[in-house]
Symmetry: C2
């Protein structure tokens, strides 16, 4: 099998962690007899520098011609003075999501054995562990709803955004959450604010309807404010969390932080054809870029998600995940995951990539 | 001085914790020579049972005639099957906020000395303590914005809500946050999603303008998703958090949970005349109602906020707060704040009230 991948490494640590993901993918090619062709495109800050905008036409065309997008990370202090719409994150990610209708965002987050001390949670809570999959709707809601803008003058000037969801949008993302739950603990927690939002009332209704097709999956509803709280007390009781765009943005980041190891978390954003964008959940970390100390695991796991969801190479995907688990459980770790007394055992970005590639 | 208070005890533990707040207020009356007159009105579930709606006309009229509203808590399983709009919380709180234009919600939350073990945070993080005041806009944004509703049919049926903020609404709440910061650590963190929302772009702009009148206060901006994360890692670095209605709903609850002691947290919702509604931040806790074990401190501290903000009796307010601190730091605590081995020392709801009243 031969595949075409658009590689958008971006800024900060993007290029260095991407190099390790490529190493691991090449081990997978050999082992599973795949042929993966890569084309690199500028995105984010580097694209602003080279082409004057965060998502140049050539990049978009390259993505259109590919089977999947492997994305690094974008942004940094150099571009923070730009107006929000022109900044790397907003100016690249939102148009990509919109253009390819990447409505389904999967953000898995679990506390790895042996890394409980990284969690900001109290030790008796983190000792119970957790493994949550956040399923976030990514092309609807208040991110894209029209009208959005400003009107009026002086003190009466006002701004407005529209949160909008159709039955179709809600049911397609709900279905994905229920299907994912079947391969996990068979539980979906749908997050809304049905005591205030009309969108949430429809959301709850449609989710209930979809649930009828999944009698083996338990469904519960929780308000966003309460979800934010319960995740702190009993994260182990959640399995799949089904969220609208805005609530998913907030909750997936809260859950990521609860693991305490953002460098391990990856994210998949897909459309209905299986095409997708795969990226680490963390940012471009400009403060540590270029030092060879960034954790490449999130980028490597993004490649695994790409193999699974877009290239339908489940065996190759799980081989990568097993190799990562092996590294982590052998204590083969980058510095940020080690306590101060063990910092001298820290592995470099390249050492991590080598180890994982070899373990394939 | 003589005052008229509308007492809306509501459901669950509401009436029993309210009784203790009344005890403490009566100690304050004697000591500071005040005359406080109370009239009780039904609200929430009990009002649904007695009058068919969660906020009867008589209750609203009684509140109009009063100098302040002392609110207990509403809701419980008995009324959960009702449509969202008719439920006790939504059907009582939102109309009260709207009717009296209670645009300013103050939610102070700190980790009390000696109660660090209650926090769900890792011990080295909770050991640093924190003291955050959430200033939440309460009558604007997506809660009240029009249009809000549904249209279309079948799969195309859609729901919509409107987030809307005017300069006037933003600047009046921002001013309150900056003024509050002056009596604290001189720092305001304004929470928004300016990389996505038009409302947030205006929010950020107006907050910057207001900040010019407070050169002694440091202002920083943070995205809501990042705020949710940073509160878990470094809660001690925040002072005043300035939030829109929806983001304040989410963040104030996250912060409350970070203290691990919801029974200690109170909340003030005020309008521009100083009139306000004062209530515990926690819920009606129907599971422990009627057992005499509920913590009355949040209700007692709500009475202190009422004295300070609506009745302008600062001395009486601080006397209550000092008495509460005395109780807590002497280890005079209700059961939920004690570790299992000390549970036998737990004080009852009434004992807490007696102790605090006596300490006035
Ligand atoms: C950059 C921003 C627009 C984006 C979002 O809010 O979706 C980011 O926070 C994310 O979660 O990928
Ligand atoms: C009951 C609900 C409408 C309310 C809100 O969201 O404002 C509650 O969560 C609160 O924070 O007081």
């Amino acid at each position: 099998m031969s595949y075409q991948i658009a590689v958008l490494s971006g800024d900060g640590i993007g290029p260095e962690v991407m190099a390790e993901a490529r190493k691991v993918l090449s081990a997978v090619e050999t082992r599973f007899g795949l042929e993966i062709n890569y084309t690199e495109y500028d995105v984010g800050g580097i694209a602003i520098d080279n082409h004057g905008c965060p998502l140049p036409d050539a990049t978009l065309k390259g993505c259109e011609a590919a089977d999947a997008i492997l994305f690094g990370s974008v942004g940094g202090p150099k571009w923070e003075h730009l107006p929000p719409n022109d900044q790397p994150e907003r100016g690249a990610l939102l148009p990509l999501r919109g253009h390819f209708e990447l409505f389904c965002n999967l953000r898995p987050a679990k506390l790895h054995d042996g890394l409980e001390h990284m969690s900001p949670l109290r030790s008796d809570i983190s000792a119970r562990g957790f493994d949550v999959l956040c399923v976030r709707e990514l092309t609807g809601g208040i991110y894209f709803g029209k009208p959005k803008g400003r009107q009026g003058e002086g003190d009466d000037e006002e701004a407005f955004d529209t949160m909008r969801y159709s039955r179709r949008e809600i049911s397609r993302i709900a279905r994905i959450a229920f299907e994912a739950a079947r391969g996990r603990k068979n539980k979906v927690t749908s997050v809304d604010k049905a005591n205030v939002l009309a969108c949430s009332v429809l959301w709850r209704q449609v989710v209930e309807e979809v649930a009828k097709d999944f009698p083996d999956v338990t469904l519960e509803h929780i308000y966003i404010d309460n979800a934010t709280m319960q995740l702190l007390r009993r994260p182990d009781e959640f399995d799949v969390m089904l969220c609208s765009n805005l609530f998913g943005d907030i909750l997936s980041d809260e859950i990521a932080m609860l693991t305490g190891s953002m460098g391990l978390l990856s994210s998949a954003s897909m459309n209905s054809t299986g095409f997708g964008l795969f990226e680490p959940a963390g940012g471009s970390a400009p403060d540590i870029a270029g030092q060879g100390i960034a954790n490449p695991v999130a980028q490597i796991l993004s490649a695994a998600l790409m193999l699974r969801h877009s290239l339908k190479q489940e065996d190759a995907a799980s081989a990568i995940e097993r190799a990562v688990t092996k590294a982590l459980s052998s204590g083969y770790l980058t510095g940020e995951l080690l306590t101060a007394d063990k910092r001298s055992e820290a592995k470099s970005t390249a050492q991590m990539g080598d180890y994982i590639a070899q373990a394939i």
